[in-house]
Every structure is written in structure tokens, then in C-alpha cells.
Amino acid sequence: MITTHTSELLQRLREGGVGPDITAWLEQTPADQLVEELRSLGYGLTFQERHIGKKWEISLARYLGLKTLVHRIPDLVVSFVIVPVYLDCLMLSIEENRVTGISRVNKLTVRSTRKPEPGLALKSGHGFQLDKFPDGWEMKPVRSRAAKLSRVFLQNRGWRFDHLQHNIPYQKSP
């Protein structure tokens, strides 16, 4: 049953420690079926998707919410900025309809940036990443880290800006 294995996969991606039983199941499971299963389990938001060569990348989230960031400048002012945050995110990499990588992070915070070029600062929360390397499967923790990425780069990577246009108005396409 795909449901049982999918639930177990999600649980282990939350805690770490995916074993050979799960990786063997992943190697045999059609990825399009898994993606549909994940959608039915609540991962209904697609925030990134692209096809390149034989590869399909798709990133899903359960929710999109808002978070208040506090900026403190010593002895001066405190400002509050409300930013979008994707909660419970899965990022899948697929080749020839088989998963070659799946990551789960608890959140992905999105902030607009203007310099050095217009784009987004994407700060990932904590989680785990499972990848099929040429020499076998490996799992590692995902670090909380912010990457500044240009709008052009993100468009080429299939980033879905449509979810964000009400939260980051000046990111709208001209």
C-alpha cells in the first residue's frame, strides 16, 4: 500500500533515519503516483516546479501563512515586517519517474530583496534531505540558512511567484 509507505517516509523525513526498506520502496514507486499521494495527504501547494532533460523537480507545501519578522537597529528603532512562510515543505527530484531525492523542511520563509538584484531571500527551516547518489542513498540534516536568489534565476527554476503577489506586491511581473 502506497499510503502506508508514504506516511512512514514522511515520518522518517521529519525525524531522520530513513532505512533501506524505504529507499527500496522509493526506487520501485512511480514518482507521479507518489506526488499524487502527497497531494492527497495535504501537500496541496506547489511553490516550485520545472522539467529539465529527464529531470522533474517539484516542491510542495501544506500551508502558506504569514510571519512577523522583527528588525532591531541598536539604540534606534524596531520595525516589523510581515513576510510569507511556507509550512511543512517537501522538495522532490525525479528522473525517469523515480525519486532521486526528497527533502522535508518545517518552513521556508520568503522575503523580498532589491540588492544586488531584485529577487527573494529564501530561508529554510530545519529538516532532513534524502538523496540517491551514484554510489547509493544518503540522508543528511538540512540547516537553517538563507539564500538570496535573483528573480530571473528563480523564474528559470520554476518558482511560483503567483502565491506571493499579494504579500510582496512589488514582485509582480511588469
Partner: protein, 82 residues
């Protein structure tokens, strides 16, 4: 005839972009010892080689990009080891 070679950095997974930044801003350092050897997996197509390239990511951390290169110049299973 020269076969066009795909750039493995075009295939970096989204999670690794979030962890290591824009791949176009990574700095190539070296080929790891053993890079370029024939792939021995029974599922590997003839002429496929395994590659291990060493880079510094956008944050200055050393990482390895592991991938297969097929005889037609395409790449597959591009993964980042850190």
C-alpha cells in the same frame, strides 16, 4: 564529432540551491580523485562515467557535486555532498 556536454550545475536540486546558493556563484576547485571512472552499475548505459567535482559554494563552504555523465553528453543523478 564533438558531443555537447550538459552542465551539471543546471541540474542542482532546489534544496541544494537553498542550502548552498546560486550554483552560478559557486567556485570550481578541482576534480576529486577517482572522478571520471566508468559507472559499474548494471543499470548504467554503456559509456556512462561517474564524476565528483569539488566547489566552494556561495557561502564559502567546500562541497562536492556527484553525477553521472552519459555517452551522449547528458548528465544524471546530480547530487551535492557537503
Amino acid at each position: 564529432m564533438i558531443v555537447p556536454q550538459e552542465d551539471p550545475l543546471d541540474y542542482i536540486d532546489m534544496i541544494d540551491v537553498l542550502q548552498h546558493g546560486d550554483p552560478s556563484k559557486w567556485t570550481f576547485k578541482a576534480l576529486k580523485a577517482g572522478s571520471g571512472v566508468p559507472a559499474t552499475s548494471p543499470t548504467a548505459s554503456p559509456g556512462t562515467t561517474k564524476h565528483y567535482d569539488i566547489y566552494d559554494d556561495e557561502f564559502g563552504d567546500e562541497i562536492e557535486v556527484h553525477y553521472f555523465r552519459h555517452a551522449d553528453g547528458t548528465v544524471g543523478n546530480v547530487k551535492v555532498k557537503s
